[in-house]
Symmetry: C2
Subunit: 425 residues, 2 copies
């Protein structure tokens, strides 16, 4: 019983991607570098569902995100649900839930996919994958230093050089002190300025809007200026001290491409301390590769005792752009090592041999078609599989197989027990 | 600027799961076995977005699934979208899209998460992860045999024994011939019977409903009966021949726990040939672990030339139940190998040492708190990290470190260049 069908689209849903094996290969490469470095620092992997109740984001992500950018809907049981736009609220919820059983400090990572309803453009899609690394239960700025060092080591593991990227850093604590004691704004003005600065690159009349919010001609303080202002105001001093100490400690640990930047804000409402973002120095790739910060009050929104947190998110889309720009992506190689073709009537023998070789740790694909042997071998070639052999009457009788290396065009007659060794070396 | 917040739930969304590191460990174990065996057969990984346009499922998944069981909604741009309830329509779409560039036959796998709106119960949640293995472009039943062999090898790789599971197998082609030539039902009656049989375990009045659809007392044919009926009717013979040949070939390849079962139907409308499911032989775990079949007309619904396909899906929830039942899950072990504690003021030295040891391929966690050393060491113990060392004045001076094995309570004084070797062995 067929349902009459309109012409179906062959495209993925707008702003999302299909990952064909060659794309998935790149994706897996990026994930594997992230995983390896995160695990080398002792971060443990966790995971969660892509659906959460909408209230979770209302609390602290920021109004714009929930009202304009999320995929939210009501489920068949009347619950308001959202496809996660970010992972931090989820991890804070998980930490709050099991805070009595967990051993602090916690170092956790995950590579979730996230959704934002946006106009797709370079470096920005509706769905992307994002490495999230978070640490809970450490108040000291050594945590801030580790977070940035970890991300830096990941850049190095990708093969990036210092001159190709820079880490910009700011402090919400410093900014809050500046709003209050330097610019003398009230809370509402300060919040509006924070939001305005966050979107300054997307608007054309930043200065005009800033002046209107402040009621005077707004001007960013210069780095040198902060030192001077700090000398007179203890809260500003407090914020800037912490801020410069992080930069200093990073420099001492060999990380020199860190740039203080009071124009760096980040979109989420929950940040309370250091915030940072990493940029390609190439102006053609103007999006942040990763960003994060300290959010000491987030776990507390669940009505439990406060647990300090810090973390970052690092998207796959901008990373891929970066690695392509600097030619840092590995060449595609299938994981298949040996292709077995067969003469008509010998597919069961081919399967038996494949089974035997697989048990020795080799990935073997068997051609199951009844095409000519030459066509079968051509398939292996197109798929870039390095070795191929043919099973037929002669091979079954002699129990010897000609294994051909496609790259080197060499051929060797081997017993079945020798094949895996030959393929491995 | 705080938004006033109602009490936020600590629980994940109904019918979904949080994966704390120990749960993620199990999940990663299951995925790694799937991956390893799939890759050993030459299957390549692909991926896609969890959102698809709703029309994709209207076409062939079956009305009940789209109307009652999917998470569907209209996006902010007016598009009808669905969170995927299954992966097969997506992979068929991807194959149809790039059919001109792809090298057939294709062997592909993916481990997507899927959503169904259902009442959560044992073995059945709203979100689950599912291995999908598919082959495109092979008409011969050798593909059917490989699919089932692949799944069987995965069960073996999990450590399952033949007596613990059985593979039930049926043929839609055989069933269609039986409906028409044996039961003499029209297309509509046949479709209704197919749907009824699919849900027979969830309803109490199967017989009553079956009799009503057929207009006579319905009785399943017995296996022996099929042979007899086949002798008289060529289409039934055709269906049953193919069906028994698969069983025979599997037996010949050493897979004996295959059971022909004319009551096996599967829910999707798109199957055209062999269908199969794998069951725990333990009646306490009555859900299928995996199921699949041949769907030769699915790629064609996109208005392109026909490409035959066959595949299966294998869920993580029932798998975890199975592995727990038979005690086949590995014990939890963190990936962290060494924990570095430190005396007050020596955190930078600890970090420096950690950096050095990480470069030798060891996963090292540094305690960044200012707690007493004994408390820091206790954290390592709780986290089950096998080795620990402390950095303080003495260690920095002598450049020698006491590395303690927590399991064996042994301790060794080592230079920094010797630590990674000691931890690795």
């Amino acid at each position: 019983m067929e349902t009459k069908v309109k012409k179906l689209s062959l495209e993925p849903y707008k702003g999302t991607r299909d990952f064909y094996p060659q794309d998935q290969f790149v994706q897996n490469y990026i994930f594997s570098v992230w995983r390896k470095v995160a695990e080398s620092y002792g971060y443990l992997e966790y995971g969660a569902s892509i659906l959460e109740e909408t209230g979770l984001y209302r609390a602290k992500s920021g109004e714009e995100i929930v009202n304009e950018q999320t995929y939210s809907f009501t489920d068949r049981g009347g619950r308001d649900v959202t496809i996660r736009p970010e992972m931090t609220p989820t991890v804070a919820r998980m930490v709050a839930q099991k805070r009595k059983e967990l051993t602090f400090p916690l170092r956790w990572y995950s590579i979730p996919n996230l959704f934002r309803y946006e106009r797709p453009q370079r470096g920005r899609l509706r769905e992307h994958w994002q490495l999230n690394c978070d640490m809970f239960g450490v108040d000291s700025i050594d945590a801030d230093v580790e977070m940035i060092s970890l991300a830096y080591d990941m850049m190095k593991a990708f093969g990036a050089k210092d001159g190709q990227f820079e880490i910009r850093i700011n402090s919400r604590k410093l900014m809050n002190a500046l709003w209050k004691y330097h610019y003398r704004l009230d809370d509402q003005q300060a919040y509006k300025m924070q939001k305005l600065i966050d979107k300054k690159d997307k608007i054309t009349n930043f200065q005009e809007q800033a002046d209107e919010i402040c009621g005077f001609p707004f001007e960013f303080v210069k780095s040198e200026g902060i030192v001077e202002i700090s000398a007179q105001q203890p809260f500003i001093k407090d914020g800037s001290y912490q801020f410069y100490q992080v930069v200093q400690k990073l420099n001492k640990a060999g990380i020199k491409n860190v740039v203080p930047d009071v124009t760096l804000m980040r979109g989420f409402d929950y940040y309370t301390g250091i915030v940072f973002e990493m940029y390609d120095t190439n102006p053609k790739n103007p999006r942040a590769l990763f960003g994060g910060g300290r959010y000491d009050d987030l776990v507390g929104i669940f009505g439990v005792e406060k647990i300090s947190g810090i973390g970052f998110g690092w998207g796959d889309v901008t990373t891929r752009d970066f690695l392509e720009t600097y030619n840092l992506l590995p060449e595609y190689k299938p994981l298949i090592q040996l292709y077995i073709a067969h003469l008509d009537g010998y597919v069961e023998d081919a399967n038996k041999l494949a089974h035997y070789i697989r048990e020795q740790g080799i990935n073997v694909e068997v051609d199951l078609t009844d095409r000519q042997v030459s066509k079968q071998v051509k398939t292996a070639d197109k798929e870039k599989i390095p070795f191929v052999l043919v099973v037929g009457e002669e091979e079954v009788k002699s129990q010897k197989y000609k294994v051909k290396s496609l790259a080197k065009s060499e051929e060797k007659l081997l017993e079945k027990g020798q094949i895996s060794e030959f393929v491995k070396r």
